[in-house]
Amino acid sequence: MPESGSAVASSPFISVTGVSVIRNDQRLLDNVSVDLGDSEFSVIMGSNGAGKSLLMRVIHGLVAPDSGRVEVAGSVNPSGVTTRLHQAMVFQKPVLLRRSVAANVDHVIDSKLKDRRLQRDSVLDEVGLLSLAKRPARLLSGGEQQRLALARALALKPSVLLLDEPTASLDPASSQLIERIVQKVHDAGCKVIFVTHDIGQARRLADDVIFMHKGQVVEHRPAGQFFDSPASDPAAAYLRGELYV
């Protein structure tokens, strides 16, 4: 029996209710309901094709569900526009503009020139890229590119930060750096939703885990409980490193 929406505190900050996404007669998300609080570090896990990234896109308003609704801070935003204004998303493959590191951050900052410079330098410093501000973004290493994408997301001053497998193609050192930055952002009060395949990473970061299987949320529990005694067969198999069909 799916155990969803049970890990979160009192009043949900993000509420996904009965969301389905259907493409070519396939239910990519199947009646998904999950409540997320405003302070937890939430990690979405599951095998490939489980619907993790799609759920994140629905929450961010990039994909409109065929049925169901997403509420953020109590308001329903079918178009996703208002939602996105308070959220920032970092994609698995960073989308970087063909400009310098500094210009990439400037692109999302909407303020006067002097404020812009201060804000930009502050976020670049936060992710350790201030010394590379003038370098073309596309000449950065994979880890640096992902940190730049993160800096750009932070420049939006989001109340919710969504990260879709941001460390999937990075070496351990770069992954650790990203984890440290994200953890710091979370500690500063930002809600974080993080998709990962990496069980170790999820153990290190998660307050609560949403486990997905075949387009459904099969488990949503506090991280400790999830890792100690997974309540569903797909989650147990996943944690054992076995394939569950």
Binding site: L62, F91, V95, L156
Partner: protein, 235 residues
């Protein structure tokens, strides 16, 4: 063979001597074509970017029309502009017919669809790459257009170069609306046509060689700019 040699020799002589007539013709050709290309870019690039970045009903039809307009025959454009600017036409009062302004107008109408259609193709690929980022920021249509135009600036140089090639080599439209008037609307292509009809082939070939040299120099400049941009990962 002898004609080719004497044409080469004449071209060399004309260029080295800084022949006043030649400079005047080359100057007017460049002025007309460069102005037309700039105007075409001002019109065509935003249109191309807008079509590349927006999804709307009838978009496929618009793209089909844009692509079809790339193949417009210059003489047809020349005739249409002539009809508008002639004394009996709706814009006859402007008195632009047989002036460089009419030639610029005709070349702009010829080149703008080329710039729009080619830039649409270039920018659509870039938009596919950026679309999720744009969506996540809720960027307005104009912010998307300006971002695409800035980021594709080096690819768009090649597009404008294609437009320049079309403009500088064009003869039909400028002949009809410019009239090939000596010291006023005579450009390289209309001069070549005139010299050929007069039988002065060395002069015609000489001008042709100058035209080729200009095309080569402009291409080399743009290629140098693009390759340096690629080296610095901005292209």
């Amino acid at each position: 063979m002898q004609e080719s040699e004497s044409a080469l020799f004449l071209a060399f002589q004309l260029v080295m001597a800084g022949d006043a007539d030649l400079l005047e013709i080359v100057g007017l050709s460049l002025r007309v074509s460069v102005t037309a290309v700039l105007l075409s870019c001002a019109i065509g690039l935003p249109v191309g970017a807008l079509v590349a970045s927006q999804r709307f009903r009838g978009r496929s039809l618009v793209i089909l029309l844009m692509n079809a307009l790339m193949g417009l025959p210059p003489v047809v454009i020349g005739l249409l502009v002539y009809l508008q600017l002639s004394a009996s036409g709706p814009f006859g009062w402007l008195q632009w017919l047989y002036t460089p302004t009419a030639m610029i107008l005709a070349q702009t109408l010829l080149v703008a669809p080329i710039v729009a259609a080619l830039s649409r193709q270039v920018l659509e690929d870039l938009h596919d790459e950026y679309s999720e980022y744009f969506d996540s920021l809720c960027l307005s249509a104009w912010s998307r257009v300006s971002t695409l135009l800035v980021d594709a600036r080096y690819s768009l140089l090649t597009v404008s170069l294609a437009g320049f090639g079309r403009a500088i080599a064009e003869v039909g439209a400028v002949m009809i609306v410019g009239g090939n008037i000596n010291h006023y609307t005579r450009v390289m292509t209309t001069s070549i046509a005139l010299e050929t009809s007069k039988g002065d082939l060395p002069m015609a070939l000489g001008l042709g060689i100058v035209l080729l040299m200009i095309a080569l120099i402009v291409n080399a400049l743009v290629m140098t700019l693009r390759s340096s941009a690629e080296r610095f990962a901005y292209a």
